[in-house]
């Protein structure tokens, strides 16, 4: 075999490989775990909350899937879904913000990066916000901030416990300082929710960083996290550049945060609804009390 043939063969081989892979994805039967490489039947994976049966890796799920996992069927009622983002600064980097928005809206079917509403968890009423990482990295702009604030205000008014599922790279730079101010706005609403003696829990999922960590993600009465989720204030690369030294392997993982006292409990996704129910029930006496007081 000439060298040329060898290259041609190799190229052919690769080509064939790629096609099979693609067809696997498109018929949606099999999924390969990005962590351990185990190939699993997609239906089994979904039945297991998208957690790998073999290694326990938590695959990323979108906001609707998350809502399905947490809430009782047909109890989620979305609110403020009529808010849509604008381009307040006329921001353009390599691409225009307006184009990035349109693209994310088309690919996710969402107007912006969070779904908010009320629901029931094993018949216990609760307010729920779920960030969607697919929408521009879950970044927080005006719409995300406003929807979360309105949800908090709603749950303060209705005396509901509140769960916010965090998944975000931080503030949305394309909306400039307006994004940063959403951190303050949400924290203010949480202060009133807290003042009303209502329970607030963030669930930190992979990844929760930047401005979200420096506001509502860390303001829970109880803070829950998914196993191995990346949680931090500054990016690992930024820190490595400042320190010029290697960081611990588990740095900024949910486990690391729990070890340092910033996470109450790490909840595997397969046990999420059960754990939530337990916590909500344990707080129910309190809740009834504050309701009768009002």
């Amino acid at each position: 075999m000439s060298l040329f043939d060898w290259f041609a063969d190799r190229r052919k081989g690769q080509f064939v490989g790629k096609v099979t892979q693609e067809s696997e994805e498109s018929d949606g039967l099999w999924e390969k775990c990005p962590e351990c490489g185990q190939v699993v039947y997609r239906k089994d994976l979904i039945d297991n909350c998208s957690v790998c049966n073999n290694c326990g890796h938590h695959n990323r799920i979108d906001s609707k899937e998350r809502i399905r996992l947490i809430t009782d069927p047909n109890t989620f009622i979305s609110i403020n879904n009529h808010l849509t983002p604008v381009d307040p600064l006329g921001f353009k980097d390599r691409r225009a913000y307006a184009d990035r928005l349109r693209e994310s809206q088309a690919s996710t079917g969402l107007k912006d990066g969070v779904l908010t509403g009320t629901c029931e968890v094993n018949s216990i009423p609760m307010a729920l916000a779920v960030m969607d990482f697919r929408f521009m990295g879950g970044s927080m702009g005006s719409v995300v901030g406003e929807k979360i604030t309105r949800l908090i205000e709603h749950s303060t008014k209705e005396k509901l416990p509140l769960l916010i599922v965090c998944a975000s790279g931080g503030a949305r730079m394309q909306e400039g300082m307006l994004s940063l101010m959403q951190m303050a706005k949400i924290s203010g609403a949480l202060e009133r929710h807290r003042d009303a003696q209502l329970l607030y829990m963030p669930l930190l999922t992979h990844p929760t960083t930047g401005g979200v960590t420096a506001s509502f993600a860390m303001l829970g009465d109880l803070i829950l996290a998914e196993p191995k989720a990346l949680i931090g204030f500054a990016g690992r690369r930024v820190i490595e550049q400042t320190l010029r030294e290697k960081l611990p392997d588990n740095f900024q993982t949910a486990e690391y945060l729990q070890d340092h006292g910033f996470v109450d409990t790490i909840v595997p996704r397969t046990e999420l609804k059960e754990t939530l129910t337990k916590i909500l029930r344990l707080h129910k006496t309190q809740e009834v009390k504050s309701r009768t007081n009002a």
């Binding site: 609707k64 399905r68 809430t71 989620f76 979305s78 879904n81 009529h82 808010l83 849509t84 983002p85 604008v86 307040p88 600064l89 921001f91 353009k92 980097d93 390599r94 779904l115 702009g141 005006s142 901030g145 406003e146 604030t149 503030a171 730079m173 394309q174 909306e175 400039g176 300082m177 307006l178 101010m181 959403q182 951190m183 303050a184 706005k185 924290s187 203010g188 949480l190 202060e191 009133r192 003042d195 401005g211 960590t213 420096a214 993600a217 860390m218 303001l219 931090g232 204030f233 500054a234 990016g235 820190i239 400042t242 320190l243 960081l247 740095f251 900024q252 340092h260 006292g261 910033f262």
Partner: protein
């Protein structure tokens, strides 16, 4: 004047200034009257300086905001505060030198003052961690603000930081949590809070002492969601595009006033605050006194409700009239 730290765009002034210095020297040695000539040159220099500083780009404003000789928190305290008593420590094991605080009197009024403090030179900057506070700094700030709340002292915050410290120890001690708690608790406080961006307002690190009833900003100060350098390397994939990012991010006082974030932009002497620090001090003192007396006229509940609704309004979005589409899950 020769030891003044010059920024790139100030270089055209150098020649004029040198000329002025030379003539002064000459005049000292000989008995020739050069006052007329000096006056002419000085007027010209002042006009040139004003032209340059009126036309600063956002990227150049960052340089002015970061100018090593720009008055810092301690400088302003020295300029117009009486009876300054610095208070140390977060009561939790640390005393951050990048974020300082204490009691002082401004005019007739006792206040609690907190602010980030950068260093003048490398040695001092190492001690001050370049004005980048660690979680202990934010917790110290909150402890002092709680003290002010108990004793009914208005809170004055000076913002001047590239950002909260990003490092191993900061993550270990919960930088995110420390800032987050400040954001929430500042809404609870019953005393007036006035924050002023005296230099650089770097993202969450600035906001961590920035939830205020009034936010003031000096003319050449900047307040950013992310440093233009970081923004450029993330969005443009090229840190060299920082000047473009600085313009796109809308970081100057007038821009932020338009967005409803800043309440007043304070005029700087031409050449920037470092050129005439005492004048800057007067401007700031007068502004603080004015806003303070306005805020002290409000009841506690008015104050807190106003603070809430001020931040409540921030954000731009579209609200379509038709209450639309339930999301089906």
């Amino acid at each position: 004047m020769a030891r003044r730290f010059l920024l790139e765009f100030e270089k055209p002034l150098v020649e004029l200034e040198n000329q002025i210095d030379q003539i002064r020297e000459l005049a000292r040695d000989s008995e020739v009257d050069v006052s007329q000539q000096l006056l002419q040159l000085e007027t010209l220099a002042a006009r040139r300086r004003e032209e340059i500083f009126n036309a600063l780009t956002p990227a150049q404003k960052i340089q002015v905001a970061r100018h090593p000789q720009r008055p810092s928190t301690l400088d302003y305290i020295q300029m117009f505060c009486d009876d300054w008593v610095e208070l140390h420590g977060d009561r939790n094991g640390t005393d951050d030198q990048a974020l300082i605080g204490g009691l002082a009197r401004i005019g007739e009024k006792s206040v609690l003052l907190i602010g980030q403090q950068k260093g003048r030179d490398t040695k001092e900057n190492v001690a001050r961690n370049f004005g980048m506070a660690k979680p202990g700094g934010y917790r110290k700030a909150l402890r002092l603000m709680d003290h002010a709340d108990r004793f009914n002292l208005p809170i004055i915050c000076f913002i001047d930081t590239p950002g909260a410290y990003a490092g191993l120890i900061a993550e270990e001690q919960g930088q995110g949590e420390a800032i987050a708690v400040n954001l929430r608790e500042m809404f609870r406080l019953k005393v007036p809070i006035i924050a002023t961006v005296i230099g650089e307002g770097g993202s969450g690190g600035a906001l961590g002492i920035g939830v205020a009833d009034r936010l003031l900003m000096f003319e050449h100060s900047v307040y950013t969601v992310a440093s233009p350098e970081a923004c450029a390397s993330i969005l443009w994939r090229d840190a060299g595009k920082a000047p473009e990012a600085a313009s796109a991010l809308k970081i100057t006082g007038p821009d932020l006033m338009k967005l409803g974030i800043v309440d007043e932009v304070l005029k700087e002497p031409s050449g920037g605050n470092n050129w005439a620090p005492l004048q800057a001090g007067d401007t700031l003192k007068n502004a603080l006194e004015k806003h303070l007396s306005e805020l002290l006229a409000l009841s506690t509940s008015e104050l807190r409700d106003n603070r809430y609704s001020k931040f409540r309004k921030m954000g731009k979005y579209l609200e379509s009239q038709s209450i639309e589409s339930e999301i089906s899950v």
